[in-house]
């Protein structure tokens, strides 16, 4: 069984947010519900202030605090290493949001970020909390894995596009979007990344590109001191860095 993981090369990432858009389209996210986000940092002060950015999906931790705290086992870790949410079990207590150090989880019932409220314009039918005019095929929806349009009052998060990767041929070391045979099994953010800053593959396979990159370029995990052991690794070079903290220490 593969242990899926991602490597993001910060030297290549241009902060274009195509990954966020692709994720939103693939997974029918509402404005502000960025399962895949690009965070921006202001470093330094005028005249030498710099704008930095940092792409951040769910870290799909090996030791996920969100899974440990969920009182009803609605959020769980799959055998292939992905943290998912069973929307049929989630009670909406939001303890997992509290316990995630990376801030990657979202509650369905929030005050709308933009007006008019998109959920009231495209009203939900049945269990769905809204009914987007364009959405993934119904056959891809999977309530037990948190894939599709979520019901009211549950928590949602990045699934590594589980509806795609779970159908990948067994034993595949890398889900390379440049390989036409594997493209449809690759997460949307990886497929869309124009500068190819994202790599997706089996962390347990030493021959996979992700394993090689982590070894060669000293792949680093975000907030590693928290002990969550993310399965998303970042590699850097001379002009990029991983924020050591949430880095909102801007002067006010």
């Amino acid at each position: 069984m593969a242990k899926w993981g991602m490597v993001i090369d910060l030297e290549k990432c241009t902060g274009c947010q195509a990954c966020s858009i692709a994720c939103g389209m693939e997974n029918n996210r509402l404005p502000g519900e960025n399962w895949q986000d690009v965070l921006y940092y202001t470093e330094g002060e005028y005249p030498s202030a710099q704008l930095k950015w940092f792409p951040r999906p769910c870290m799909q931790c090996e030791n996920p605090s969100c899974v440990h705290v969920c009182p009803v086992k609605a959020t769980y870790k799959t055998e292939d290493g992905v943290v998912l949410i069973d929307w049929d079990r989630c009670i909406g207590c939001r303890y997992c949001i509290i316990a995630c150090p990376y801030g990657v989880r979202f509650f369905t019932d929030e005050r709308p970020l933009v007006q008019p409220d998109i959920k009231s314009v495209f009203k939900g039918v049945g269990e769905r909390s809204w009914n987007p005019p364009w959405k993934m095929p119904d056959s891809h929806e999977d309530m037990q894995r948190g894939v599709g349009i979520q019901p009211q009052s549950v928590v949602s998060k990045c699934t590594f596009c589980y509806h795609r990767i779970s159908k990948a041929p067994k034993g595949t070391p890398d889900l390379d979007p440049n390989n036409p045979a594997l493209r449809e099994f690759t997460p949307a953010c990886v497929v869309t990344c124009a500068p190819t800053a994202r790599y997706f593959g089996d962390l347990d396979n030493p021959e996979s590109e992700v394993s090689k990159l982590i070894a060669k370029k000293r792949g680093t995990r975000l907030l590693d001191h928290m002990g969550n052991k993310p399965q998303v690794y970042y590699v850097t070079g001379t002009s990029s860095s991983i924020p050591g903290s949430r880095a909102s220490r801007k002067k006010t």
Binding site: F54, V69, P71, P101, V104, P112, Q152, S153
Partner: protein, 391 residues
């Protein structure tokens, strides 16, 4: 239904104080409950001002306040029925009933706050997520509610001293201590929330709950007798007239003050990211009201021999102490989330939060429910009862 309401709310003669309290608190419960349910039905949890960046707001701090108060009330009730301090018998039954009322009020606030409370009934036992502190909190508070109801049923039947009654008292006391510890761990285990992360937070909660429980014991004891000591039965009057009660209250206030000061100084001194909330907290007039007027002033009053035995100072200290605990728990719950998690420099330094009308309605529903249940007990269950012999 109307017959039940008539039986509960109606009076055969001149309305007693319990009748009046029951009517007003029931009216308050209906109004706030309708408002809360109206918001939830029409807008869902979008009516809350909490968000994915600050998920737990006023209703959760209300839950924390009420269930910890239930813990404190159980302590006071247990002084006599478990530990044998017989002078506390006159408040034991009332405190046991109040702890049930506070617990149900707290559970109601929590039930209205979470997304799918009914679903919890089957997912909690079938999930068996034993590594989650919230799972154990649910288990032990449920056990505690069962034991305290059974214990109350025993003492209501006049069985204060049988082995079964004593065993139920010990079981209620033990489960509430464990339940409240697990509640502390719900917050204290969160390494990613520096303001909460503290292995000793359960001990902190223990003293805070005792303080809150003692305050409500004093308040409701006077409340039951129209705030007049001369209306009280002899044993209770003796308890209220002696220095022991204010001294216990003052000790708990003193410990509470020490804990608030220690935590605040640690927070102000440390430069750990997340602790800047303490600086913000000190800019809040509400925090200063809670600390100086709600804790320090009652502490001085209860330590001053000329004031500590005066009913008006005892009642005022109890009310102020309770309000202070509510505010302190609110600042604790909300403050722990005000520093955003990994959201980048464009997220606010501190997340702003003001409770919405829906959140206030849930809070008031929980509080009015507690008052309503208390008043039902006062009217029908003879809460002033105490054992005729103190075996």
């Amino acid at each position: 239904m109307s017959n039940i309401l008539q039986a509960v709310l109606g009076t055969s003669g001149k309305p007693t104080q319990a009748d009046t309290v029951l009517r007003y608190s029931f009216a308050g419960l209906v109004i706030t409950g309708v408002v809360a349910l109206g918001f939830l039905l029409l807008q869902g949890h979008s009516a809350f001002n909490s968000s994915s960046m600050l998920p737990w707001g006023l209703p959760i701090s209300t839950y924390l306040f009420l269930v910890l108060t239930a813990t404190g009330l159980t302590f006071v009730s247990s002084f006599s029925v478990v530990f044998g301090f017989t002078e506390f018998y006159p408040v034991a039954k009332r405190c046991a009933w109040l702890s049930i009322a506070a617990l149900i009020g707290g559970f109601t606030a929590l039930g209205l706050e979470i997304g799918h409370p009914i679903r919890m009934l089957w997912t909690l036992p079938t999930g068996m997520q034993y590594v989650s502190p919230m799972f154990w909190m649910g288990i032990f508070y449920t056990l505690y509610l069962i034991f305290v109801v059974l214990k109350f049923q025993r003492i209501h039947a006049g069985d204060w001293h049988s082995p079964t009654s004593k065993l139920l008292g010990v079981a209620a006391f033990t489960t509430v201590v464990i339940a409240h510890s697990t509640l502390g761990l719900v917050f204290g285990m969160m390494t990613m929330r520096p303001l909460w992360y503290d292995g000793m937070i359960s001990v902190n909660f223990l003293f805070m709950s005792a303080l809150s429980g003692a305050a409500l014991t004093v308040f409701f004891t006077y409340f039951a007798y129209g705030f007049k000591r001369e209306n009280m039965p002899k044993d209770l009057r003796t308890l209220a007239s002696e220095a022991a009660l204010p001294k216990i209250f003052a000790t708990l206030l003193g410990l509470g003050i020490m804990m608030v000061v220690d935590r605040t100084i640690t927070g102000l001194w440390s430069n750990l990211d997340g602790f800047q909330v303490y600086h913000e907290m000190l800019r809040s007039p509400l925090w200063h009201f809670a600390f100086w007027i709600g804790m320090v002033l009652p502490f001085i009053a209860m330590m001053t021999p000329s004031l500590q035995l005066q009913p008006k100072w005892q009642v005022a200290s109890a009310v102020l102490g309770s309000v202070a605990m509510f505010v302190i728990f609110y600042h604790y719950v909300v403050g722990g989330q005000r520093v955003p998690t990994f959201k980048g420099a464009w997220a606010p330094d501190l997340i702003a939060y003001t409770p919405s009308l829906a959140e206030w309605a849930i809070t008031l529903t929980g509080l009015f429910l507690m008052f309503t249940i208390y008043a039902v007990g006062e009217k029908f269950l003879n809460l002033a009862d105490a054992p005729t012999h103190k075996g």
